[in-house]
Symmetry: C2
Subunit: 398 residues, 2 copies
């Protein structure tokens, strides 16, 4: 029997997968589970998206251009202009989700054994994309005590070798909710210019910012035209994860024409998703505002309830829809499993993503977990009730 590849063997499982069998078993026993473990929003997808598909008079569901339909890229460019980034349709490649965008950029910028610096905790799938491309992740640890702010420039410089080709951040961050300030992005600019690196920024949560803060897209910083590569997606902004429409945005023409070759090899992004995506660019600013307002309420519920729990450390997140929380427990992998297997509060419990899976450094994140506030406030209150009760009785409490 032929064996699988080393890169396949080394592919990490997602931090949540291991818990799925326990969640399934809990459901079978009739337990109600509040799913705070994944970033699948419950907000209704704008009706425009469904209408666009229903009203389409297409008769042959054909390939689109590999870079995406021009009429869609024109709309995306207009959206970028509206957020202050001077982007034209040639600086956009439409992909099957931001995941494919990251994959193409990894392949375009990095060779096997090249290195990419990523502040940890980071979106766990960055590990997977790196592994797939045989690219080496060098983590820099951000601390929960600082609210997961950007580590100092010296920490980056210590990790830079002659193999380093880029830095990758998510802003605002999945999994921490941290919103990088303009000043922090300028520090990153200094580093990438000094060492001639690519700066990859995952901005899929761009609109999800709170407390009157504003998001700075790396595309609006001067001097980064050849360095900045942005990943974007309709999944979170429009609650349309299943469209599988993401994009690469960059002014670096050599990189874009290289990424296009990878895009051409896979022929085209989804046609229906692009029809929906184009319709969603017409969604009213009020729809987005209402959606963010709803998340903000949820954020406050979770943040206030968690802050009131003894022994829990919870930085107030400035963006996205996640909280990265430190619990007074021995090990969140055990705690999360126990919540599903051995605990219930009035027949209900909570599922969270254990923190260790978001770190590349072995041993970190053992007391941390990620919570996605993608449920309505009433359910979130009940989920917090469960957590509060659970922390009182969990045998591994420290």
């Amino acid at each position: 029997m032929p064996g699988i590849s080393k890169r396949g063997a080394g592919m990490p499982s997602s931090p949540i997968r291991k818990l799925v069998p326990f969640a399934d078993a809990a459901k079978k026993k009739g337990k109600k589970i509040y799913h705070l473990n994944i970033g699948q929003p419950d907000i209704q997808t704008p009706q425009q998206a469904f209408d666009a598909v229903k009203n389409s008079d297409m008769t042959v569901l054909s390939y689109s251009p590999s870079e995406g339909y021009e009429w869609y890229r024109d709309k995306i460019a207009a959206y970028y202009k509206s957020i202050g980034a001077d982007i034209n349709s040639k600086e956009i490649i439409v992909t099957a989700g931001a995941s494919e965008a990251i994959n193409f950029v990894m392949n375009s910028c990095f060779d096997p054994e090249d290195e990419i610096i990523v502040p940890e905790p980071f979106y766990a799938n960055y590990n997977g994309f790196s592994k797939a491309g045989n690219v080496k992740v060098r983590p820099i640890t951000a601390s929960i005590e600082s609210g997961f702010a950007l580590p100092p420039m010296e920490d980056f410089e210590k990790q830079i070798t002659d193999k380093t080709k880029g830095i990758l951040i998510c802003n605002p961050s999945n999994p921490t909710g941290y919103l990088y300030s303009k000043e922090e992005l300028e520090v990153l600019r200094d580093i990438v210019l000094k060492y001639d690196l690519f700066l990859l920024v995952d901005e899929v949560y761009r609109e999800f910012v709170y407390d009157g803060k504003s998001h700075t897209s790396v595309l609006t910083l001067d001097g980064l035209e050849e360095h900045a590569i942005v990943f974007d997606s309709v999944s979170k902004r429009y609650s349309a994860c299943g469209a599988r429409i993401g994009m690469i945005i960059s002014k670096n023409q050599e990189m874009m024409s290289t990424a296009l070759k990878f895009a051409q090899a896979r022929l085209s992004p989804p046609t229906m998703g692009q029809i929906m995506g184009a319709a969603m660019t017409e969604v009213s600013p009020q729809w987005i505002k209402d959606s963010i307002g709803e998340y903000d309420n949820r954020r406050k519920v979770c943040y206030e309830r968690l802050s009131a729990m003894e022994g829990v450390t919870v930085p107030q997140p400035g963006g996205a829809f996640y909280l990265f929380v430190k619990f007074p427990v021995d090990d969140t992998e055990k705690f999360c499993k126990w919540l599903l297997e051995d605990f219930d509060h009035e027949g209900e419990t909570v599922m969270m993503a254990p923190g260790a899976g978001f770190y590349a450094t072995e041993g970190l994140g053992r007391q941390e977990a990620r919570l996605a506030y993608v449920l309505n406030s009433e359910d979130l209150h009940k989920a917090m009730d469960c957590l509060e009760e659970a922390l009182k009785v969990y045998p591994g409490r420290v």
Copy 2:
């Protein structure tokens, strides 16, 4: 300015891309072009597919499971049973087109510098997927004189090294239209069992077979359970290329659970495409039969017309919707460009894919070109008129 990767620099362009500017220029001059250069069928997508989307009462366009919806995979499994392959839903992973399927399998089975043997001419994008995964393609040349039949076992054995991990074929073949017989597949079985290799078979054209021949899926051959990996797609079968729905089918559980990890990293295949795909499994056998009948007529038009042209060598294809043709010209890259730039017959001309791009061996295929018969018979006759006239006046005729 940071530089792109070596793998990016080495990514081949598709054999057609270079011609696109000349086609655009010709169109601007008012020339009508018969596009025989790409495999985009003109057959209408079954109405069921559009109806399924229009009738959906979905309100949140959410992620599907990474392996695809179970209700869709159940239908795919039933389809496989109908063609004599005992496949269950756990042996299926739904992907964003067969392209993503190939990508996941490349990553799951091969490490950088591992080798895969592919009979040439082959689907040009196999080069791209190999390059992306840093896998090395070892070509074995099939000859136009033999109609592109499987080269003898000795040719394969000569290419096998300790780096060889698999053999990849397309059956029936894009670009040659060659339909591998059961006996040829048994030769491949002997080789992969003897050397413990994976046998990757792209069967997306499975239904497209002619002259009363029948297709043998490698999934129906005994003894290959751990070796055979099939790529499939709704694109050609149902004329639904834009759905971006493909799949990996294999009984090798270790490989499938590895491929699933790559699938999990990219979250999910397109949701709308799966809804359409599931509806299309209900398409009547008569629809498929009519579609194949239409392609068969087109094949006959092209084959008969080309056979009658002096100096043209054209093997009769047993499947798919391509002809791989040898022309009495100096170089088909020049010839195809000349057809667009310098030639017209009553204001019309033809676009084809030059042959060299389908070979990995430098210098081969210079007199060959691929023609996709994806136009109606009337247009194909006109396209053949153009070719016939062109061959009379082309300055590089040999």
